[in-house]
């Protein structure tokens, strides 16, 4: 994986309107390369809309989103980004392996890639199983396997650990860390604050605005607590007082 200069993602004054309401209110931030960046915040805070803007499937009202040096959604990025959606993007009427072979063909990835990613997400035994018969957690992992195809430079994962048991969550976070060590940039969204500690960098969203942006230690220090959930609550309170 090449380490190019500049951030993996640069967002400038991003505004997005969905259904007549402004969902993101002028976000500006950067995501460094080769790290796991956590995108955290309560449900409905705009995480998925932000992720969709980064991967280029969301119409933005104003602002700029640059990904790996290219405008978000640009043709050159389509082979460099892996994207796992919040609800599993898997054809339920195909087997897991058929799904992966299809998406591998989309990317022009090697034939062995499907087996490799199945192994990485712990679904090696379920390759010939019809996707419609998988549990919710297995479906999520199959969707994650799709994102891993073709060795992307940037992985954008929307709540990839929802519905997984603690052992699987730990395994997946181990996988994320090892990918980051290989130079892959990961943006992982979650509404579970205890996952925040596993990230090198955190962007905390609330009501379409950035509440905090920094390392887990930096956030703890700023909020004066060792518990990240408590830190989040204190930051919310601090902001509410500032607004008043």
């Amino acid at each position: 994986m090449m380490n190019l200069p500049g951030p993996a993602i640069a967002v400038r004054d991003l505004r997005v309107v969905r259904g007549g309401a402004e969902v993101l209110h002028g976000l500006t931030f950067e995501v460094p390369r080769g790290q796991v960046t956590g995108l955290l915040g309560p449900s409905g805070c705009g995480k998925t809309t932000l992720i969709r803007s980064i991967v280029g499937v969301q119409i933005v009202t104003s602002g700029e989103v640059t990904v790996l040096g290219e405008p978000a959604g640009g043709p050159a990025l389509r082979r460099k980004i892996g994207y796992s959606t919040q609800s599993a993007a898997i054809y339920r009427d195909l087997t897991v392996l058929e799904n992966l072979r299809y998406f591998a063909a989309v990317l022009g990835a090697g034939k062995d890639d499907a087996e490799r990613v199945l192994e990485e997400v712990g679904l090696a035994g379920a390759g010939r199983q019809l996707a419609g018969s998988l549990s919710g957690g297995q479906l999520g992992r199959a969707s994650l396997a799709v994102a891993l195809l073709g060795s992307p430079e940037l992985l954008v994962l929307d709540e990839p650990t929802v519905g997984l048991d603690p052992v699987l969550r730990q395994d997946l976070w181990g996988l994320f860390q090892s990918l980051a060590e290989r130079g892959v940039t990961l943006v992982v969204s979650s509404h579970v604050m205890d996952e925040a500690a596993r990230c090198q960098r955190l962007i905390i969203l609330r009501e379409g605005e950035i509440l905090a942006d920094g390392s887990p230690d930096g956030l703890r220090e700023r909020a004066g607590t060792t518990d990240l959930e408590e830190a989040f609550l204190r930051l919310v309170k601090e902001k509410a007082e500032r607004v008043r």
Binding site: V57, R78, Y83, A88, A89, L107
Partner: protein, 278 residues
């Protein structure tokens, strides 16, 4: 584009929908094109010698290709529209568009590849329906003790070409509806009500309200029927199939069908390119 075509071909081969649609169509062609007319022939008053002979003539190998293509204007179009809706609309059902369109080939290439692969499936379905028609006609000829007289290869090829031409236009319209309504259910409902209800009503009304005639010549069903009629297939009033009638000339029918094909692909592509992908 090569990746887009290879992946879409892989997807369609692995899915049940084209097989179900294809088999359904073959059963309909054999059943309504040959089975039902043969029952009518067999039960017709033996005194009506001329009617019986004319009916049997349409069911023999020499006319099997025209009888098969005569089924397309009314029901074949609706079946191919269903296939078109399933080609694009199913992506919304499984939520696979965002993952599909954020990686690999561009959005326009994906849509065009889907329609092209769907068109390839249509060629296979039309060829299989024609082959099944030929086999059925051979069975009927054998049962009736009639000689096996084969049509000219060029006539069979022309019938197959017309069947594919009509089918691709309907498929493209279905693909556009799948994108317009972001799914399968509403697209199918609107498409089938339009096809089997509104188009037939307008076409029928145009026979008594001359002001509607210009509308009829741009409807997909009547133009499909006109193209089939241009092959020499008899209209319903001449004892032929439902929906076959020469409302416009063959070249005009071709132009209208081409316009529907181009418009269907264009609408689907433009919407996929401009919209948020959900």
């Amino acid at each position: 584009m090569r990746n887009a075509l290879a992946s879409e071909a892989l997807l369609l081969r692995r899915r049940l929908a084209p097989f179900v649609v294809g088999c359904t169509w073959i059963v309909l062609v054999v059943g309504f094109g040959f089975g039902v007319p043969y029952i009518v022939y067999a039960t017709l008053d033996p005194a009506k010698t001329a009617d019986r002979a004319a009916l049997l003539e349409m069911l023999l190998p020499s006319a099997a290709h025209t009888t098969a293509v005569g089924s397309y204007p009314m029901f074949g179009g609706a079946i191919m529209l269903i296939l078109g809706v399933l080609v694009t609309g199913a992506e919304y059902r499984w939520g696979t568009w965002p993952a599909r369109l954020s990686q690999g080939p561009g959005r326009a290439q994906v849509v065009i590849a889907k329609v092209l692969v769907g068109a390839a499936a249509v060629v296979v379905i039309a060829a299989a329906a024609l082959a099944a028609s030929m086999v059925t006609s051979v069975v009927i000829a054998s049962v009736e003790g009639r000689p096996l007289t084969w049509p000219a290869v060029s006539a069979v090829a022309a019938s197959l070409g017309v069947a594919v031409f009509i089918s691709v236009a309907w498929l493209s319209l279905g693909a556009a509806l799948g994108v317009i309504f972001r799914g399968v259910g509403t697209a199918l409902a609107v498409g089938l009500v339009w096809t089997l209800g509104l188009e037939n009503a307008l076409s029928g009304l145009a026979g008594v309200v001359p002001a509607l005639e210009p509308v009829r010549v741009i409807l997909l069903g009547p133009t499909s029927g006109s193209l089939v009629a241009a092959l020499g297939v008899p209209s319903l009033s001449e004892g032929g199939a439902v929906g076959v009638a020469a409302y416009v000339s063959g070249p005009v029918a071709c132009a209208v069908l081409l316009a529907y094909t181009a418009a269907g692909i264009a609408v689907a592509t433009v919407l996929i390119r401009r919209r948020d992908i959900t």
